[in-house]
Symmetry: C2
Subunit: 219 residues, 2 copies
DNA sequence: CGATAGATTGAGAGTTTTCAACCGATGTGG
DNA sequence: CCACATCGGTTGAAAACTCTCAATCTATCG
């Protein structure tokens, strides 16, 4: 939570080196940017908006694997590993994107080794986050996962109105479970709900609450 | 599952470029190689043996996040992201390792850009795998996760005698649940147990079984 | 051969989901 | 601007799943 996974520096540099290779694209809410299984074509940088990396399981359950916001880039994982996309990216709201072609990026990287290092760093941080979530899936109860996701999503992307569904897809919980948890948190005065939106008056209180929970569950 | 995440090519190259920077180390079974929270000191390459990347949750639950076998390297994630280790690496059996110092590796990478690309590729593949497991944690029932882990671990590391505990820690299940699932699979003739070791006579049958399960659970 | 760690099994408890019904906010077309 | 359709949210009760706890068993090793 300490620092956001960046992106700006990478695209500032690309802007500097090869501005002509950047193409502007606009996506509407719920529009698919790329599809699971397809071959990667390039790298995407978010000028404005919000993008979710989602995967739909065979049973129909959706998972929100990663979220990319203002000045983040995405599409890099499949590009580097030279595999088809393992998930689908969808605009969570109207989103403006700068796109750079795979070949153009490759050429740039060959002459500017700091670009690849930059991308590798982001990958490494994403792997860390993913594995921590993996651990949390087996060691934490839903309520705690929901609280942590809430804090994470609201802190990183405060301008998005996160739905119960999205929160659930992010932490492996059903919409109803998220709803119940939020009700309980409001009763305890830890959050405020106004219409559909959620406010966290004192994030530290919520974090303390999780830690108390963890004590309680410890052997 | 198609191809193993490599490592050999990277260390062959390092061997070629700077053999004097490689140090041989030996770890006994259950010995800690590096500790969560510590600063990374270098990169590890497995000459022989098996290493698990594990994290212990506050409630005491252990997770087996990744497994590294013959000719794999590890310790790269924290090295690239320049963060403290997010988990602990432990020898799952007696293991011989080639170690290269952080600074030596950095110098090599600066002059040989293919090394970093190689590491980045592995990171990208590991992220893919981690996110697929993340999705499976919310969409699949334990039994299916256990079967998939069994196939994965036995296919990649056939020479290790995987315990119920290790399988459980890999897929988020309790030892007893793994045991029950294995009993049921044996009754159905899908696996063979001999003493503590598990054999999969016909892996395809097991995979088909999962897919049938998934059909059954579909909406 | 005894000690110990790992494995198995059953019964009961706890957690989360499922299903169903209902509520409330938001936005659109008449 | 209202009526209404729609989407998201809430709540309860029951079902399903997985874990916990406890007892027992059995490989394996010194």
């Amino acid at each position: 939570m300490n620092h956001f996974d960046f992106g700006k520096e990478l695209f500032d540099r690309i802007q500097e080196l090869a501005p002509q290779s950047l193409k502007l694209r606009t996506y509407q809410k719920d529009e698919t940017i790329y599809h699971v299984g397809h071959e990667p074509e390039g790298l995407y940088f978010i000028k404005s908006g919000l993008v979710g990396l989602v995967d739909i399981a065979k049973n129909g359950d959706e998972s929100l694997l990663r979220v990319f916001g203002h000045e983040h880039f995405f599409g890099h994982r499949s590009l580097i590993s030279e595999e088809p996309y393992h998930a689908t990216s969808i605009a969570l709201k109207k989103t403006n994107i700068l796109f750079i072609n795979k070949e153009d990026l490759k050429n740039l990287c060959q002459d500017n080794s700091e670009l690849l290092l930059y991308i590798a760093k982001v990958l490494a941080k994403e792997l860390r986050r993913s594995e921590i979530r993996l651990k949390d899936m087996s060691s934490k109860k839903v309520a705690d996962r929901i609280i942590e996701s809430l804090i994470f999503l609201k802190t990183r992307y405060p301008h998005h109105k996160w739905t119960r569904r999205e929160i659930g897809e992010f932490c492996g919980a059903k919409t109803e479970t998220v709803s119940r948890t939020l009700s309980s948190l409001e009763q305890q005065g830890l959050i405020k709900r106004e219409g559909r939106s959620i406010m966290i008056p004192e994030p530290q209180l919520l974090l303390d609450f999780i830690h108390k929970e963890e004590e309680r569950h410890k052997i």
